[in-house]
Amino acid sequence: MVNLKINNNPVSVPEGSTILEAAAQLGLKIPTLCHINWDCFHVEHRSGSCRICVVEVAGRPNLAPSCCTPVAEGMDVHTNTMRAIRARRTVLELLLSNHPKDCLVCTKNQNCTLQTLASEFNIHDIRYEGEQTELAVDDNGAAIRRDMNKCIMCRRCETACNVVQTVGVLSGVNRGFTASVAPQNFLPLDQTACVFCGQCVLACPVGALTEIGYKDEVWQVLNDPSKTVIVQTAPAVRVAIGEEFGMKPGEISTGKLVAALRRLGFAKIFDTDWSADLTILEEATELFGRIKSGENLPILTSCCPGWVNFLEHQFPDLMHMPSTAKSPQQMFGAIAKSYYAQKLGIDPSDLIVVSIMPCLAKKYEAGRPEFAPEGVRDVDYVLSTRELASMIKEAGVMFNRLPDESYDDPLGESTGAGVIFGASGGVLEAALRTAADWILNEQKDGSIAYFEDVAESPIDFVAVRGLDGIKEATVKIGDLELKAAVASGLGNARKLLEKIQSGESQYHAIEIMACPGGCINGGGQPYSNCGCNDGSDILEARKEAIYRADKGLPIRKSHLNPSIVKIYKDFLGEPNSELAHKLLHTHYCPKK
């Protein structure tokens, strides 16, 4: 332990701690801006670049950045001397002097660390005005909007992109006052290897990185009498959207979410959990087939569009590995525009499918040409959790006071297996629940009964749960020892994929989610898990909520979902049938 004094208060901290950490132990919050500690993912961004956290250390000629200065025995630190306060205020004024200050019309209004600090520092007058950065805004893509005029060069997005995700699109460019963070040659993001995971958006403490919004378009169609507008909600939305309305992280607000969507005027409120169950039927069939033949193992999950983009950009040699099953969002869209439109007797182009997603890559995915047969998109608009919250607020719907309401039929009925898609490990667990039944069934009878329950088969695969970046499990199903792994965060995924390339991988199945922790930490989720250093608790709470929701449901295996059973009977035939292939499967193409 190292003993030091901060503002004359003695404190002991482990060796290697920073002044910032030591101060926190004394209940002192030194302001920070560039520093972020993704504790649960073991990544700390400590660029020491913003200089807002400077403090006075006796015996040092210059002020010390508390976020990266290690403590030393006998150190005498003062955090609130006039010298330190003046320096911090000046640094903040400098940042503000090159910031648009359009807070009222900024997407990040009230979610911006710079704004918060300006308020906490009582900055009302900026003495050093001058030239402002003027760079073109990149809002051409489908998912992420880059407005580098708001960038404060904290470089968190770079760490998210390069260290956490190993995507390597963003880096510091130019120098001096013109320094900025950008893809090479200032290319728009959609011309780079960006996977649109949106982790950079979550990391950005200001409004430089935000999403491309579709609220206006959705309002437009909601007010168009010629359109029937239906909506699907992703599993992870229900455990996070409450945060936007002051609810505690981890509160499950499924019923209020449905009620709010109904108040907004959507004709039918459906659930992506339903199509998640459908995904499991298709994907588990593939897994089952590959295990039986022993070929093309491991199977990789394919529900995460960020991961699919990563695969296409970075692992062109592994195109054959993932399941060909579409993601739940796209399966929903495909069924809605075929089966459901037929059922309603309307033209698919008059049926508008809106998705509420915790994800920004879903915006990109919905716009892929292969998901627009004959030019009609399966999913028309994708709103993030944040955008929906904003729509609810704009419409004056008092979310907290809403009664709990239920999803509509037939695409609203779902199981616990569908819900757990929202957390890392969930897709694999859901697939195992179904595959286990089939394997046991087959071991017993020599044939699969797709929709039968095997009561004694396992249902809770806890080894694959949790926020760890890589999880491994060996599951015994009858006489089969099934080896599986789960990666969340593309940096972790890369490690497993490289093992496949080198032939070291012994797994039957690998689940990959682009965002660390899975969809609960998606790029479209409420900002409450970033900007401060305690995001881990919020993620933990969202994750717990996902598994609580699973436990609370009467049916927890996808193949036992009655409306899934029905759609196969009435429409699709059986899993991996010709029609199922046409509607529910896709292909992957390497990207340059």
Binding site: S49, R51, V54, N62, T90, V91, L94, N98, Y128, G176
Partner: protein
């Protein structure tokens, strides 16, 4: 011949000595500066003349590096075998026969020999002049052919390495260097021996020694002079450092804008490797050491050691917070020491002549000598190497020959673009790292820009800030935005848009930038502003309160008027590019101030001193 043990080196040097021709050397400075000034045709003409006259037995023409006498290039030094030397400056091809005819015995007819202040302490016990140079880092530069290993060996080259490898343990090497008191010549002034000790104390394994040859201060070129004039000294020092810290790999990070230095380094590395002085099992000691070159793209900030390391790693050249120090975690995460060229160039001499000898030169806190690059309004532009503790006055007025064109001294900026501007009252300060810092300036890499009374101190602060604004990497807020704002305020003052509160803003902002910036660049960049504010407050006030530039430099503040000397010839009106001068022939003309762009064309064209500029 491959040198495999120390006695091989002794034998080789003896052989070289025995083979010395006894010819008079005609040494032509062919550093970048000498070549630029036309040294190559002079060398060629000398060779042609010797051949034509059949004087090959008496004379040899030797290409040497830079002596530092930039003000008189192209230059020929005539040196007899006994060491008698005459230097001629501004040599033209026509003068060659006279120079050769005179030889080293007398001054050529019609020419004047240069009176230089060069002094080599190991050769002469006592200098004859009052103020002389003390050449340690530059001891061979301009005296030997840098492209010949033999020339270096004849100047005791690689003796230090031989001694270190055969007689000393690595820890002793570090201790000796600590004892010498050598401090980093690149600007920081950190004790070099301590740096080596830190790296040596790290666990065994891959370590690196990097030579920082990313010389970037405008007007400073001492490192280039060493690399072009004495490349083997740097290689020898790096090998000594490698042995001391336990590293087998040295890298020279050199800016690509130094092609000649690169070529000479490459040649030197080849020669040393071929001779067994680099490579495996040097001097039979079991110590292996290799050196490779890495090129920088000329970013000023890459002179900062962490930025330099990132640049070598292929990353963006920007500094990171220390700790961890490179000596603990440097290149590729391995213990690394980064030493500047001039620092390294001192090291072989220290090990040949001992720490005590080195300490006897300079001041107790800053032993040894320092190379300064004299530039600006000084007569003798070039390099001088002087003992630490010398007075500014001695450098500028004795060695530098005083202010050019008979003007008055106004200020001197030391330490490159981030140094402070010192005034006449600082001229008698004995300069070393601490005293310069105390005056609000710094040693830096040794740039010295001399300014005369025609220099506007506000404008000069603005000029230096413009450089740092351009060269800041943009990583930390105070340097990225703060320096830009400082520059903008100065720009406004120079443009006549200054306000009284700007004086406080400059001071407060300048101090915060110094106090909060991440690396040395930002921690020093406000020095030109703060020091001129302190030393020349009246000039700032004249700009702000009177809209007047006392040195008549800031064009926006100048007014051109026509006085009673005007005879109405109209030549000014014809030369005015914006037609703002009017008047009837043979009557006094008038300048329309609202149209005048202050280009000064009228003043230049007037033959009657009828144009005033105020």
């Amino acid at each position: 011949m491959k040198i495999k043990k120390p006695s091989d080196l002794t034998a080789k040097v003896a052989e070289l000595r025995a083979g010395l021709s006894g010819k008079t050397r005609l040494q032509v400075s062919l550093g970048t500066c000498g070549i630029a000034a036309g040294g190559s045709p002079i060398a060629a003409a000398l060779r042609k003349h010797i051949a034509e006259q059949g004087l090959e037995k008496k004379f040899e023409v030797v290409d040497v590096g830079c002596l530092g006498l930039c003000y008189c290039e192209p230059m020929v030094e005539v040196k007899s075998a006994k060491g008698k030397s005459i230097i001629y400056g501004h040599v033209s091809e026509e003068q060659i026969p006279a120079i050769v005819a005179a030889g080293a015995s007398k001054t050529a007819e019609g020419l004047e020999a240069l009176k230089t202040s060069l002094y080599y302490p190991e050769e002469q016990a006592k200098p004859k002049k009052k103020v002389v140079q003390t050449r340690i880092a530059l001891r061979n530069s301009g005296r030997i052919n840098p492209e010949k290993l033999e020339d270096y060996l004849l100047q005791d080259g690689y003796q230090a390495l031989a001694k270190v490898l055969s007689d000393m343990k690595p820890a002793q090497v570090c201790d000796e260097l600590v004892e010498s008191g050598l401090r980093g010549r690149g600007g920081g002034g950190f004790p070099t021996g301590k740096k080596w000790q830190f790296a040596a104390a790290q666990p065994k394994g891959q370590k690196y020694i990097i030579c920082n040859a990313d010389e970037g201060d405008p007007g400073a070129f001492m490192d280039r002079a060493v690399l072009e004039g004495d490349p083997h000294a740097v290689l020898e020092a790096m090998a000594i450092g490698g042995y001391a810290i336990g590293s087998d790999t040295g890298l020279i990070y050199i800016r690509a804008e130094y092609p000649l230095a690169i070529a000479r380094l490459k040649k030197a590395i080849e020669q040393a490797t071929a001779a067994g002085l680099l490579g495996k099992n040097i001097f039979g000691s079991g110590f292996d050491f290799n050196i490779e070159l890495k090129y920088g793209a000329g970013a000023f900030v890459c002179g900062e050691e962490t930025a330099l390391i990132h640049s070598i790693e292929g990353k963006r050249g920007e500094p990171t917070f220390k700790p961890p120090f490179p000596a603990v975690r440097g290149l590729w995460g391995k213990p690394t020491i980064v030493n500047n060229v001039e620092t390294l160039a001192n090291i072989p001499a220290i090990f040949r002549q001992g720490a005590a000898w080195f300490k006897s030169i300079g001041t107790p806190g800053s032993p040894g000598s320092k190379v300064f690059a004299l530039a600006g309004k000084i007569s003798n532009v070039g390099l001088v190497e002087v003992p630490m503790g010398i007075k500014l006055r001695d450098i500028i007025f004795e060695l530098g020959g005083g202010i050019a064109n008979g003007r008055e001294f106004k200020a001197v900026q030391t330490g490159g673009p981030s140094g402070g501007c010192l005034t006449a009252k600082n001229l008698d300060t004995a300069i070393d790292y601490e005293s310069l810092k105390a005056l609000g300036s710094m040693m830096g890499s040794g740039g010295m820009i001399i300014m005369d009374e025609d220099t506007c101190m506000v404008n000069i602060a603005r000029f230096f800030l413009e450089f740092t604004v351009d060269e800041s990497c943009g990583k930390c807020t105070p340097c990225r935005i703060g320096n830009k704002r400082l520059f903008e305020i100065l720009d406004k003052i120079c443009a006549g848009q200054g306000t009284p509160e700007m004086l406080d803003q400059l001071e407060e902002l300048g101090n915060v930038i110094k106090d909060t910036s991440l690396c040395g660049l930002g921690q020093t960049s406000p020095n030109p502003v703060l020091s001129t504010l302190k030393n020349f407050p009246e000039e700032y006030k004249a700009h702000i309160f009177e809209h007047r530039c006392p040195a008549a430099v800031c064009t926006s503040l100048l007014n051109y008027t026509i006085n009673e000397n005007c005879i109405g010839c109209g030549i000014c009106a014809r030369n005015c590019p914006v037609n703002c001068i009017s008047g009837l022939p043979k009557t006094r003309h008038h300048i329309d101030q609202s149209k005048c762009i202050k280009c000064g064309a009228c003043m230049r064209s007037c033959k009657f001193a009828a144009i005033d500029r105020k």
